[in-house]
């Protein structure tokens, strides 16, 4: 008898309301272990809110989150060590240097000093941050801050990575390095969940995708299933979320 492996991340009936706004409306999603999973959606669709609830950063109003079969909100001490998180748009402890921030993340995760030291140096080199490692994070560009955040998410070798807009503001060379790291990670059994607005990137990297709109999952599954015969993901995305905006002719913007 074979047992079905637990999904790397399982969301059931997640709901989050901010005042009168229903940001996330009964989201159900299973993310298979070992997958490279893209979450796409228009601005304000509820992606970041969903990922925040899926990583322990935001208490859901209703619903459950399981990480490799462990209830995240019921047993956070068992579930959180399995996850590496890169949130979007949040501050970091910017009075630390890049190297210190990685060390900080590693020590919080309970790693020994020597292990942290070795992994910190590896990550700084892999993400081309060796020179910046001694500079305060407050002096980092947006792209460098993303890379150091990714290093913090990786330092404890989690089994699931949840990355919110990991390539935003990152230069092409660094983006290539990050892609390689993530692809090798998935190839060795890790699971990556990333949100992005760049459809081409999601199509290139991910084997599964979920389209989120108006706080709900509009479509999910393998890339081919979600495309559903469309030319590409972008075409399918527009079809799913709709493009109902009034097309105004900005004649006043024309220069000649």
């Amino acid at each position: 008898m074979t047992t079905v492996p637990a999904p790397a991340l399982s969301l059931r009936g997640l709901v989050k309301r901010f005042g009168h706004t229903l940001a996330v409306d009964r989201v159900d999603l299973d993310i298979p272990a070992g997958s490279f999973y893209g979450v796409v959606g228009p601005n304000g669709a509820g992606k970041t809110t969903t990922l925040s609830m899926a990583t322990g950063l935001l208490q859901p109003d209703a619903g459950t989150v399981s990480v490799l079969g462990i209830d995240l909100w019921g047993a956070p001490e068992a579930a959180k060590p399995l996850i590496g998180v890169l949130p979007d748009g949040l501050h970091t402890f910017d009075r630390l240097t890049g190297a210190e921030l990685i060390s900080y993340a590693g020590r919080l995760r309970g790693l020994d000093r020597d292990v942290v030291r070795a992994r910190r140096d590896d990550l700084l080199a892999a993400l081309d941050l060796e020179d910046a490692g001694r500079t305060l994070v407050m002096d980092y560009s947006a792209g460098m801050a993303k890379k150091i955040g990714l290093a913090c998410a990786l330092v404890h070798a989690p089994r699931l990575l949840v990355l919110d807009e990991p390539f935003e503001a990152v230069d092409p060379v660094s983006a290539g390095a990050i892609r390689r790291i993530l692809e090798e990670y998935v190839a060795t059994g890790g699971t990556v969940v990333l949100s992005s607005h760049v459809m081409a990137l999601v199509e290139r990297l991910c084997d599964h995708v979920a389209v989120v709109g108006r706080g709900r999952v509009l479509a999910s599954g393998s890339l081919a299933e979600v495309r559903d015969g469309a030319l590409d993901l972008e075409e399918r995305f527009v079809a799913l979320v709709g493009d109902e905006r009034e097309r105004r002719d900005l004649t006043w913007l024309r220069q000649s």
Binding site: H91, R95, A105, L108
Partner: protein, 530 residues
């Protein structure tokens, strides 16, 4: 542009009030308090009108001088200034300082405190009507100019303090300010201790008020008395001095706004650090064994020596004890044993000041939250970082106070009591920081800024922390007070032992309770401080 800028401020306040109803409640309470003050102000104006011109001018000069200093200092120490129109927010719009200054200036006068003080000074200034219409006109002009200097002075003081604290010389600046404050307080205390309050009032206060009337702190307010005497030259140059001061303060503010439009606060200036202080922390009194606690402790130690928000707190905790020692004690000619309140009050203010400690992490606390169930480690590390400088400071100040009074027999009781009070105040603050966090200035923002309404929320949280400490601290202090009053060394020993036990117990209990609450609320903390 004035209407646009003012509309932004009012609209932002309205949106925040609609989003969070309690802001309206707090604003309503503030307005109610101000209305209850109105009869007192009317009574004060009538009482002033019954005084001679000279006495009335002296009283108003003293009042406006104290208010002007208060407006410059209070935003740095307690509440902060409404940051809706922080000039840095206009950076991306490509507007010049010249364009937005009129709007910023008008908006600065449209805060509740500014409106209240305009009303208050107006009502008190009406007392000059008994000296004739000319004196009343000069009083109106002089008070308006002094009031303008006061309100704009707060902007300049906060802007320059933020600029200095965000520079690489922040530490030096902090200790320079502390040194200057002590140097300024020392001669006042010396004279008061030497001559006593009665002699000082008789001989020095009148001279002081007279002198203040020739400085920008009181020139405009002193002018109507001279006008009433017919000394139009004396009144004229005082009004001119007050007007020139107002223009100067405004110009300095404009220079600072222009700077903020092109130079963001809170950058590190490319500073590089050779050592990883998370893995290899500087050896100190406190060395947590647990890895996560040690990491949080090392991070907070860095914050205490480099983050403007923490550095400004460091200066703030000294205000009350220094004022008590340098002014209250000599003014009321108190027994030297009252000086023991200095280290005790210092212990209270250090702990009390940490009541919003967790919010100082702002949204950066996500890293602590996603890393596990770390409430105990986070709180242990945070409090240990404060205790690592606070405890030695309290001990030194306590011993210095005992040495000043020469009563060494009181030392054990005082030391134990101080340790107890510090432990209790830190324990209460730890719990308050997790239970009622409110939005604090974010990393890199001005430490003296405050979101609309957050001032009120902050005051409520501060009030709750104060009430709890007022209830608990007396239990720690009573044995030492008995030892002093009854001259009973046995009670001193008891105060020592009980203080240390209570302090350690409250500290540990506070950490444990706050850590548990942190874990329970970890999914809501980020939203609370974001």
């Amino acid at each position: 542009m004035v209407a646009t800028v003012v509309a932004i401020r009012l609209r932002a306040a309205w949106h925040l009030a609609r989003r969070e109803w309690w802001r309206l409640l707090i604003a309503g309470l503030g307005v109610t308090w101000m209305l209850t003050m109105l009869p007192w102000l009317v009574w004060g104006g009538a009482a002033l009108a019954r005084q001679s011109d000279e006495v009335r001018a002296d009283l108003l000069v003293g009042l406006v001088a104290v208010l002007s200093i208060g407006w410059a200092v209070v935003p740095l120490m307690v509440a902060g200034l409404d940051d809706t129109l922080e000039p840095a927010r206009f950076r991306t719009l490509g507007v010049s300082a010249r364009t937005i200054m009129p709007g910023l200036t008008v908006a600065a006068f449209l805060t509740l405190p500014a409106l209240f003080f305009a009303l208050a000074l107006g009502l008190l200034g009406l007392s000059w009507r008994v000296s004739g219409p000319e004196a009343l006109a000069v009083a109106a002009l002089g008070l308006a100019l002094a009031y303008g200097s006061m309100v704009l002075g707060a902007r300049v003081s906060a802007a320059w303090a933020a600029r200095v604290l965000s520079s690489r010389r922040a530490k030096l600046a902090t200790f320079a300010v502390l040194g200057l404050a002590l140097a300024a307080a020392a001669p006042v205390a010396l004279v008061l201790f030497r001559d006593g309050l009665t002699a000082v009032i008789g001989a020095d206060v009148e001279v002081l008020l007279d002198r203040l009337g020739t400085t920008p702190l009181g020139a405009g307010v002193a002018a109507p008395a001279l006008a009433a005497e017919g000394d139009w030259l004396g009144a004229g140059w005082r009004i001119a001095m007050q007007a020139a001061w107002l223009l100067l303060v405004h110009a300095v503010w404009r220079v600072n706004v222009a700077h903020q439009l092109v130079a963001p606060l809170g950058r590190g200036g490319g500073a590089r650090r050779r050592h990883d202080r998370i893995l290899d922390p500087v050896r100190g009194l406190v060395r947590p064994r647990d890895g996560a606690t040690a990491a949080v402790h090392a991070r907070l130690v860095r914050a205490w020596v480099s983050d403007p928000r923490y550095l400004s707190s460091l200066v703030g905790v000294m205000l009350l004890p220094v004022t008590f020692f340098a002014l209250v004690m000599p003014v009321f000619d108190l027994d030297p044993r009252w000086a023991y309140l200095v280290p005790i009050v210092l212990a209270v203010t250090i702990g009390w000041g940490r009541h919003n400690d967790v919010a100082f992490d702002s949204t950066a606390l996500w890293l602590d939250v996603v890393s596990g169930r770390l409430g105990q480690a986070v709180l242990r590390g945070r409090l240990a970082a404060t205790a690592s400088w606070a405890l030695p400071l309290i001990v030194v100040v306590a011993l210095a106070t005992v040495a000043w009074g020469g009563r060494w027999a009181d030392a054990p009781g005082l030391l134990g009591t101080c340790v107890g009070v510090l432990g209790v105040s830190l324990g209460v603050a730890a719990l308050s920081a997790v239970l009622v966090p409110y939005r604090a200035p974010a990393p890199g923002a001005s430490p003296f800024g405050s979101e609309v309404g957050a001032v009120g929320a902050g005051l409520v949280a501060q009030l709750v922390s104060t009430l709890v400490l007022v209830l608990l601290v007396p239990f720690v202090v009573v044995p030492f007070v008995v030892a002093l009053v009854a001259e009973a060394p046995g009670w001193g020993a008891a105060a020592c032992v009980l203080g240390i036990i209570t302090g350690i117990g409250a500290y540990a209990g506070g950490v444990r309770a706050a850590g548990a609450v942190y874990n329970a609320r970890s999914g809501r903390l980020l939203a609370a401080v974001a």
